[in-house]
């Protein structure tokens, strides 16, 4: 999915602590003025190309979030801003939240049969305003993705503790070192 022209974003607070919301508003201030890139916040999801979730999606706001998500016309992209939206954040296992955008997609697929759209994950607690700009630039393929998964597997011949500590196999030399002190002597 690629948007060649201006990207209009509908910003939805889905149970956020306001940290990410302030950072989203920050990028429209003169210092990081993203309107120079054609990015704009809109008041209605029907006018938007992208929907930005900030927050772990609480149970209370789940029906509203689904409604707002379905109101965004196709083609659309989703920006998951902050650690809460990406993976549930510090509340990932709470009963009161759904637990991130991935769980939200599962519910969408089960209940409404909607396939998940292109999603940009922007981790941070809250993400720096520049990190959000980078995420939006990534959505428009203006920059290359730096973050890649890394898997390291240790290769070693030793897998036995007995070879590490050879004297461990016999226990006799332990015993004389223990002194039992009898009370009352």
């Amino acid at each position: 999915m690629m948007f060649k022209k201006s990207l209009w974003v509908f910003h939805l607070n889905s149970g956020s602590c306001n940290g990410c919301d302030i950072e989203v508003l920050n990028i429209f201030t003169p210092k990081q003025d993203v309107e120079r890139l054609g990015i704009k916040l809109v008041g209605s999801p029907r006018h938007a190309d992208a929907i930005a979730f900030t927050g772990p999606i609480t149970r209370e706001c789940l029906p509203k979030a689904i409604e707002a998500f379905m109101a965004v016309p196709e083609p659309k992209i989703v920006l998951a801003i902050g650690s809460c939206a990406c993976g549930g954040g510090i509340w990932f296992d709470s009963y009161a939240v759904i637990g991130g955008i991935k769980e939200f997609y599962k519910i969408l697929k089960e209940k409404h049969g909607i396939e998940p759209p292109t999603t940009i994950y922007i981790p941070g607690c809250p993400p720096k305003p520049e990190a959000i700009i980078y995420g939006v630039a990534l959505a428009r393929k203006a920059v290359e993705q730096k973050q890649k998964s890394e898997i390291f597997v240790e290769e070693s011949d030793i897998d036995d503790a007995a070879t590490l500590f050879k004297e461990a196999t016999s226990t006799r030399h332990f015993i004389p070192k223990i002194e039992v002190i009898k009370r009352g002597e």
Binding site: S83, G87, G88
Partner: protein, 170 residues
């Protein structure tokens, strides 16, 4: 300040907007960015997983394969730097990297798999080889043999030693 004063001031100030996506920015001293595990230094003790408030670092033990997996999921990290504080091997540290946006969740994982040592008594893998070596450096010589045993076998051995010793002093 009148209307013209404001205009003159803003002209004198010049341009404040950053050129960010096209030019890099300066980061402040002590900025906490992406946490990174150095796989060569990590001993797999699990201290970081214990202190991590959102459980972004999780530890899985695979007893069949004999591997301990340290899984760092950036998408849940809150960048508090507790893991950096607590790491005894100084393996995990917070870099100044903040451009972490990714198009898929899989890209936000860092996985370190460490080999586990089998217990000399029962043969069950119980701790990473590197962790045992790390502890062995700090222990006095006479206590080292206990390291080759898993906690269960260690408890059994300790009770055995106590019974034998008590019998001798009777």
């Amino acid at each position: 300040m009148g209307r013209f004063g404001l205009i003159f001031k803003s002209i004198a100030k010049g341009r404040v907007t950053e050129k960010y996506p096209f030019a890099p920015i300066e980061l402040p001293e002590g900025f906490r960015g992406k946490p990174e595990i150095d796989p060569e230094k990590c001993i797999g003790c699990g201290a970081c997983a214990t202190v991590c408030p959102p459980s972004a670092i999780q530890i899985h033990v695979d007893e069949e394969q004999g591997y301990k997996t340290i899984d760092l999921f950036l998408g849940r990290c809150i960048f508090c730097a507790r893991c950096e504080e607590v790491c005894p091997a100084e393996a995990i540290r917070l870099t100044k990297e903040f451009e972490l946006a990714a198009a898929s969740e899989e890209d936000l994982h860092q996985v370190v798999k460490l080999k586990m040592a089998k217990c000399a008594g029962c043969g069950r893998p119980f701790d990473t080889v590197r962790h045992l070596q790390f502890i062995a450096e700090k222990l006095p010589e006479e206590q080292k043999p206990m390291l080759a045993l898993c906690p269960d076998c260690r408890a059994k051995l300790a009770s055995k030693i106590l019974t034998v010793a008590a019998r001798r002093h009777r």
